[in-house]
């Protein structure tokens, strides 16, 4: 009566490993391109993809039930809640607290 987790094939594991190594190379490579703010986005997307690969195959999420999958993303979702709300504060007040942002609605961002 062990847990009925299908045993993964060697080929599946090794190809995921290879994909991860290639993606690591890619993310380093892309970081040398001049993409402006997109560098962050691309790097994070690749990281997210790599993390999903590890979770999906290595950590066996692909064979898990819905509850485990829910728990798997719950932490990430909560982290996003924390970041989103905190950032909403920072972006709407600016770093240096401006004494009267309402009295010069246009002066700040006219570039």
């Amino acid at each position: 009566m062990s847990a009925h987790v299908p045993i993964p094939t060697l080929r599946a594991l090794v190809s995921v490993w290879a994909a991860l190594i290639v993606l690591t190379g890619t993310t380093v490579g892309v970081s040398f391109l001049e993409l402006g703010e997109w560098n962050v986005v691309v790097a994070l997307l690749i990281a997210l993809f790599k993390a999903s690969l590890v979770a999906w195959v290595f950590m066996g999420i692909r064979h898990s039930n819905a509850m485990t999958r829910l728990f798997c993303v719950a932490g990430l979702v909560w982290l996003c809640i924390m970041m989103f709300i905190t950032f909403s504060d920072y972006t709407t007040r600016g770093w240096t607290y401006q004494a009267q942002p309402w009295s010069h609605p246009k002066a700040g961002g006219s570039h």
Partner: protein, 350 residues
Amino acid sequence: MLARLLFLADLELFPPAASAQAGPIDDLYWFEVIVSAIMTVLIFAAIVLFAWKYRRRPGVEAVQIEGSTPLELTWSILPFLVMLVMFGWGAQLYFAAQQPPKDAMEIFVTGKQWMWKIQYPDGNREIDELHVPVGQPVKLTMASEDVIHSFSIPAFRIRHDVVPGHYDSVWFTPTKPGRYHLFCTEYCGNQHAGMIGWVTVMDQRAYNNWASGGGSQGTLAEQGEKLFQQFGCATCHLLDQQGRCPVLRDLYNKPVQLSDGRTVLADDAYLRESILEPNAKIVRGFEPNVMPNFRGQVSEENVIQLIGYIKSLSPQTPASQQGSQQPPVVLAPPGTPAKASPKPKPAPGR
């Protein structure tokens, strides 16, 4: 009996309302008190009624009731609608509390363990005492030298944290002459309870007398100018021609182009940052690392004086909006400091 005892103890149960803000906030407060009281009475009454009426009696069994979705929805949605009123009302007052009128008189407050230092544009300085003329909107620009303080005048129903590293601001229009408490309401260390001061609201004439009475060391701008010389700022910030550093004349409240392409407004917060950490935002066309960091070299009060001086270098800004915001008080000689009347925003409430 109790009432007499309270009377004898000269007990206040409600604070005086001495600012234009106090009335509207009290109105909301009483609205909330009444709603809460009604809810409390209803729930208490229901508990007492049910507990008594359905008390355990021999032979009487409880009637099993599952629940009722319509009822649940009713008592979820109805209270929420009432709460929406509180929200909207509160948010509107909060929004107004963040917008000082353009003719507000500007006073500077520095919190420091454990005192409030007050600086007036005409150069007067006080500790733990704030004098304001009745009917004149006052905007406080506040800074902290050390930890977080919170500036609170209960009689005015105003309060704002004074967070180090920022300028915080709060404004009010005093309406009743008198002396009122000024508290620090954010725990700031040992003598937190000692950070109590007084606000004195005086009529305009008394205020003028008071303002001219102090042995002033010159206006805020003059004090700032002294510091400007003392720190040697003038060697690089030349008044009328380009030096190694930007010209400060006509700078205040103007947009400034930075070397990284951004544009910022040269307001109090920007000027403060540029004094304390000059490299944070470099003006286009200038080199970084020319000016030393003044963090730790000048106190927040000095910064306020320096900003006062810089402001005085931009006496009449042509842009009408900014011009009207420019408080003329800054340059007015002592004795005729404030524009007492006409207020663009008549004090609401009482």
